[in-house]
Symmetry: none
Subunit: 212 residues, 4 copies
DNA sequence: AATGAATGAGATTTCATTCAT
DNA sequence: TATGAATGAAATCTCATTCAT
């Protein structure tokens, strides 16, 4: 019998999350002080620690929400495009959506503090395992779609699906990293080139031909 | 008229660099305290500050040395392989060299603290411009090789060379990032898949064919 | 809605002030480390910084309290002496009070670190303006008393009141400075001579006569 | 048999003194780094320490030179004014010379770092005794002139000459202090008022009359 | 549950002085 | 003598987290 209702707690939690997202975006992860979140959320230090064990926990909550969004993206695209979509187009749309989506306000900032978080804490045991879970979850999504593409006769990769998954996830992150961390302009042509390369991989362009 | 010779000073500088490289690798960039470098190098605090203005300057020196190494890598490969090497093979070798090279002791650690450095400090003006210079330098190297491949009739990319450069540099970083930061196993197959994808891009696999 | 009452906070603030006053007196301003104040007050480093932004702020608080005391001194003397006091006597008492008061325990030490503070930091903008405010406040007090003395027909200075104020404040400080900073014995006769000189000024001893 | 002549050494010493004077004036005593003096003098760190044991010794050398100047001031005034000068005029000239002299370039800066030096180091034994010597030397000069003024029938102080000396030296310092440390404007009227007051003291304005 | 004052272990950099060359 | 690289003991302020109220 909680003294305040679950609804109230959820509202409060969201207030905190929103404030954290805002401040992390503004200052980056390490430069954000708990006091900044206190100031922006209007909730007291103790209040925040009631709902989140640490600054880290706050990030992880945000990261999980973002992960859901990204995992849902294939479904969203499917829904938007309707049934006439083939798998190649699905992937193309996905890459464009993610990379062009970086220009939406706030998105780069989130990517920025996320990269910062992982690279700062990647050595900690519990962070390692968390990263692994996230990767696996995402890889599953990807693999199942690729497999469907293969079943549909559209994809014919010459290498195992999981390895393709590694490449796709990694390189997509790399495209984002160079843009948001190294601050290099990301052009439309680069996005197209990237998509082409990934599609080649999935479709299985004949190596011999390609490589001479 | 220096009190001690330039040689001695160079030796001392290297002592410091070596110690910093060791400690950064061991603890990561932000977790490294100047005291750690002092302890490991056996050189006094003031002594280190005689040669390097800050921890940041120490990192940048290391990063510059690594950049040289990476920029030289194409030449090294050419020299090793002799003249019979074609450009496709040159790139394949390059990708393998970089990615398999991660298994050499110390290499991952260096990548790790480098990612950490850039993601932590990427917002600072002078770091931004440094990142940009490094990117441009590297892009130049890459572009000139791709252009030679085109002249040789081996490459026929369907997109501008600079955009290809962005994709290659970014995605290669991404491959490394996922492995060293997210701690995901990097398989031989993934390296191969990655190389295939990049080669498709350079050779210009016919899009229509590829994408249906 | 403070977690602890305002009273408790005031007590804590005073604890810190007292400790700072003690340590400044003991070691001087620049030789006092925050750690000394921490040790002597028994309050944690962070606790002190909760109440005072810096060592400087701590000094200024002390200095303001002392300023109040000194500004009140004329009133105190009036109250003690009753109505039969004339303005000449008021000033004489004031000079004696201040200069003989230096022999009270702790007073010299306070003067000492105050001189140190001002001479060390006098070039900083915000310190300059602070010094100016303090001077003006004090000058006002002095001027209004001198003016009353004039109205009462007791004083007849031959120069503007503000300039007299400058001389009185400056020279009184000088008397203190020589004693506490240069460590020169301050005799009763010197105090008397000083008072005579200042009184001449206020009363307006005929110049011709004086100067031949 | 010195390897380099005394002349060369004297030149070198002066080079250092000049540089120190310049930098102390520019930055104040505590803010001056030995490296600043090295940079400005063009003489190496070791070189400076060959001639002066410490930063403190450097200040003391400068202070001694200035003391000589100030001690000579009475003679200079006498010489300039010729024999028709009486003692009252001598003192008046002296006060004006010192106080108006503050407007000469560099003079305030010297006063500033001198006050800083003494107030920072006044607690050290050897500094205390140095200050005492300087005071005595100066007091002697002053006393002997006052005595001559008495002999000449011009002065008739009602208090011992040494106490008058204390008052004159102290208050003159105080006038300077308020101007250069507290940054308060020093007016012509204030200087006149100050001179009047001191002259009253020397001439011995009848107390009863003055004080009612 | 909520508050926010208190904690205290750091972390970077400075600089007078020394001394090997 | 002259040089200037090396020393290393400080010293200020930060901030995630706790816990008495």
């Amino acid at each position: 019998m909680p003294k305040i209702s679950h609804d109230k707690m959820a509202i409060r939690k969201n207030q905190i999350i929103d404030a954290a997202l805002y401040v992390f975006s503004d200052k980056g992860y390490s430069q954000t002080k708990m006091d900044d979140i206190v100031a922006y959320s209007g909730i007291s230090k103790g209040g925040i620690y009631t709902y989140f064990d640490s600054k880290e926990a706050l990030f992880i909550e945000i990261a999980n929400q973002r992960l859901q969004l990204r995992r849902n993206l294939f479904d969203v695209i499917k829904a938007e495009m309707g049934e006439q979509l083939n798998y190649s187009q699905l992937f193309r749309h996905y890459f464009y959506r993610v990379l062009e989506g970086l220009e939406q306000p706030g998105t780069q900032a989130i990517a920025r503090f996320s990269f910062e978080f992982w690279s700062t804490l990647s050595k900690e045991k519990h962070i390692k395992s968390l990263a692994y879970q996230r990767y696996q979850a995402f890889l599953n999504d990807l693999s199942s779609i690729i497999l469907k593409g293969i079943e549909a006769g559209e994809f014919a990769p010459s290498l195992p699906v999981d390895d393709l998954g590694y490449v796709i996830l990694s390189t997509l992150d790399g495209m984002i990293h160079t843009h948001v961390i190294m601050n290099i302009q990301l052009t439309h042509n680069a996005i197209e080139a990237y998509s082409d390369a990934m599609l080649c991989l999935l479709i299985g362009c004949p190596k011999k031909e390609c490589d001479l």
